[in-house]
């Protein structure tokens, strides 16, 4: 297979602006591709353009009052930058999520791939909204899927979702899960000493939540579950990592509960917590993929997750995790059930690790994405 020249458009990257799971997913994918291909990464952020890990980054700091205006500015400027480098022309243009759909519109005659890492409907907790941004963003998501040559999603669930939301034909869609480097997430340490740093007794079972504190991720469900867990077992402690609109509300809600809000923490600290905790809870209402799941598994942690989206697809119930309905009392039940059984919790963590190594490692996922690119190139000129 010939090496390709590939352009990535994504508004998040690990090297500049990082918000959620999108940044590591796209950055790592770009780096894997850069092993065999020439990859240019157009993203927002400060500083001059530079080469990092074999990927050529083009940065721009956009401005704009509204989110849509902001993205329009970002698309326009980075598209101009793209044109500067378009000789020899890029073979494949890969756009991640709706932020760069304006650029995609201009490039609709080229070979394009559009990836849905999530949908606006999903980010809204699986609900439609009636406010202008919701409609505008949904419209752009539709446009992205309609105009691009190939569409990928991170799970079968999202594939089904965009098929009924945006009427995208099935043959155009390929499921390519998010990859992971499992070894990066396993850190040898003494869990007791990490717990102590957080003011937690070394023998207290620790339950970890990681994610943006927004409705989609269901931190409120966890908050409601905590008192029910404590009723069965008083010594469980909780750490909530992440920021979001709901933080203040959650802190109020959890004031009488043994919950520690860690806010945003640097990666090494996150890894320490991940490896020190006894259980990871993912109470999302909608989760296209759920990167936290593969991260927790990489660290051999057992997970309790809601039975939605990518979580539902990837977890084998009671083998490598526990799936529960999107309800606080069900989440509480699963936490109390598994926290009591140290041997089972460990064996589920190990089963998860095995799954990650065999199914979600980047080598494998990168190969799947490469196949999508070559298939796209074979389809011949559009029009």
């Amino acid at each position: 297979m010939p090496p390709l020249k590939i352009a990535y458009f994504c508004w998040e990257s690990l090297h500049a602006v990082r918000v959620g799971g999108l940044a590591p997913a796209v950055t790592n994918l770009a780096e894997i591709m850069a092993r065999n291909h020439e990859v240019h990464f157009f993203t927002r952020g400060p500083g001059p353009d530079r080469m990092i890990q074999g990927v050529f980054y083009h940065f721009y700091e956009p401005s704009g009052g509204t989110i849509t205006g902001y993205c329009r500015d970002m698309s326009r400027s980075l598209l101009a930058r793209f044109r500067d480098y378009d000789l020899p022309p890029f073979d494949v243009i890969h756009v991640h999520d709706w932020h760069f759909v304006d650029a995609l519109e201009q490039l609709k005659d080229r070979k394009t791939v559009f990836t849905y890492h999530s949908t606006e409907y999903g980010r809204n907790g699986g609900n439609f909204g009636d406010w202008p941004e919701f409609n505008e963003i949904s419209g752009r998501e539709w446009t992205g899927g309609f105009l691009s040559g190939q569409v990928t999603t991170v799970s079968k669930h999202t594939k089904a979702e965009i098929m009924w939301l945006y009427g995208i034909p099935e043959q155009k869609i390929t499921v390519v899960p998010n990859g992971i480097y499992p070894d990066a997430y396993r850190v040898p340490l003494d869990p007791g000493s990490v717990k102590k740093e957080y003011g937690i007794h070394p023998l207290a079972p620790l339950v970890l939540f990681v994610g943006r504190l927004v409705y989609q991720k269901g931190p409120d469900l966890l908050a409601d579950a905590i008192p029910l867990v404590l009723r069965k077992r008083w010594d469980v402690q909780f750490v909530i990592v992440g920021e979001g609109d709901m933080r203040q509300w959650l802190e109020e809600r959890c004031r009488p509960l043994p919950v520690h809000f860690a806010g945003y923490i640097p990666d090494p600290e996150y890894l320490r917590l991940l490896n020190a905790c006894d259980l990871v809870v993912i109470p999302s209402r909608n989760e296209p993929f759920g990167l936290v799941l593969t991260e927790a598994w990489s660290a051999e942690r057992c997970v309790v997750a809601t039975d939605v989206g990518g979580l539902s697809e990837n977890i084998d119930n009671f083998t490598d995790g526990i799936k529960v309905p999107v309800r606080a009392d069900s989440i509480a039940w699963a936490i109390s059930y598994i926290i009591e059984d140290p041997v089972r919790i460990r064996s589920m963590g190990r089963a998860g690790r095995r799954k990650v190594v065999s199914r979600f490692n980047w080598e494998k996922v990168g190969g799947m994405m490469e196949d999508v690119y070559y298939r796209l190139l074979k389809t011949g000129e559009r029009k």
Partner: protein
Amino acid sequence: MVENGCRALCIGLGIHYPYYINTGFSPVNTGGTGSLYFSPEQREQFRDYLETALLPAVTCALEWLDAGHRCSFSLSGLVLEQLREDDTGARELLVQAMKHRHSEILGKTYHHSVAGLFSDKSEFTSQVTRHTALMEELSGKKPEVFENTEFVFNSDLADIIRELGFSALYSEGYDHLVSAFPPNALYSCRGLFVMLRNCRLSEDLAYRFFDQNWDQYPLTSEKFASWVATTPGDCIHIFIDARTFSGPVQGPTGFREFFCQLPDALSHNDVVPVLPSDSLQGPSRGDLHLEDLGVCSPDGTCSLTGIQNILQQSAFWCLEDGQHLIIDRKSWRNLQATDHFTRMALRSGSCGRFVSSCTSQETWEYFSAYMRILGHLESAGTRLHRSRLAANALRCLPPEHAFHFFTEHHYTGYSAYSLTEFARLLEFVPDTVFLFHQNRGDFSRWITGMLGDTTLAGRLETCTDSAEAREIVEERVRDLCRRLK
């Protein structure tokens, strides 16, 4: 030793009965005697144990032995102690089984205790020596194979056990999902042979045998023998607690009939019961490191501990610290029995799996009673110490007098039951919690009121952070310990 095609099976019979504590103990109206520490129904309960469990088990085992089959015994000193007052002839029967030429006695701690986990191993050594002496006296045999309480085993213990003259020890054969080592083989570790108990087969007998919902119910001796015969490995080690014999008789046979029929069924399936020391003749399958058992934290501290929750940890620390304070050593040793710690866990069982569960309330009540007794035991001796003040300040406290750490809004999940534990907890008490209590003067008030140490209380008053406070308390504890001696 075993012909080709035959499978070797080691069956160990565990016989232990602790002194249960008096859960209704109250420090008021004790009249200063130690007798109220332990359950007032102890004698009746032991008698019940004797009739329903110990006697059937030993009778059955004697039948085995007389028929030429092998069986080993793991006896705690506490049982033999309680048998002294007995008149049913159980003691004679037991001694007969111990002396039998086809039986073997395993070494353990006299009190079936957690002493192996103390950082000072002298208590452990003395209990093992005492047990060995008693076993030799009664059976004329010197135990060669060691089986620690709840199979607890770590590298320090391995060295001590070897130095005490044992050639092998038993440990827990965890589920293959957790441990990379299949249990039915012989390993070595630090110059000792290590044998692993087969959890699944042991639990089949101990718990699932009585479970009518089990898909293999009812378990017949023939079926069990065929499982043993098809289990891969060199030698299969199974332990049975004598209490299993007191399980309910339901369905076609009780456990006693099952066990008595087992030798015939085993010989049909070409399984030969052997003694643990016989099984040592095979080659070792390799060095067993504790890391392999899945019980090591990556920073290198390894142990198979029985201490798994906060309550057990507090009780254990107080018990360990009590060794310099307690005058009534006998009661203190009785409190070391692992049974007390099991009762402080929500779920308990063997092989890391749980088999019985109780509510938070029950564990808490047991813990409270235990701490009340331990605290009383320690304070009972204070006036006999050189420094009464030191003994008073170092003693442990019942929950109602302990220091419970709080944030402004909720309980943090840990409490100090003694000054030493207080210092240990200060290592990780967050600043907000520390300042919350310090601003209210809680620390000084507690230390003055409960421990009677006004000097320390005064020193703590001006402290502004927990590290400083910890240093002050630790220094004071060292100072008080010196005064005690």
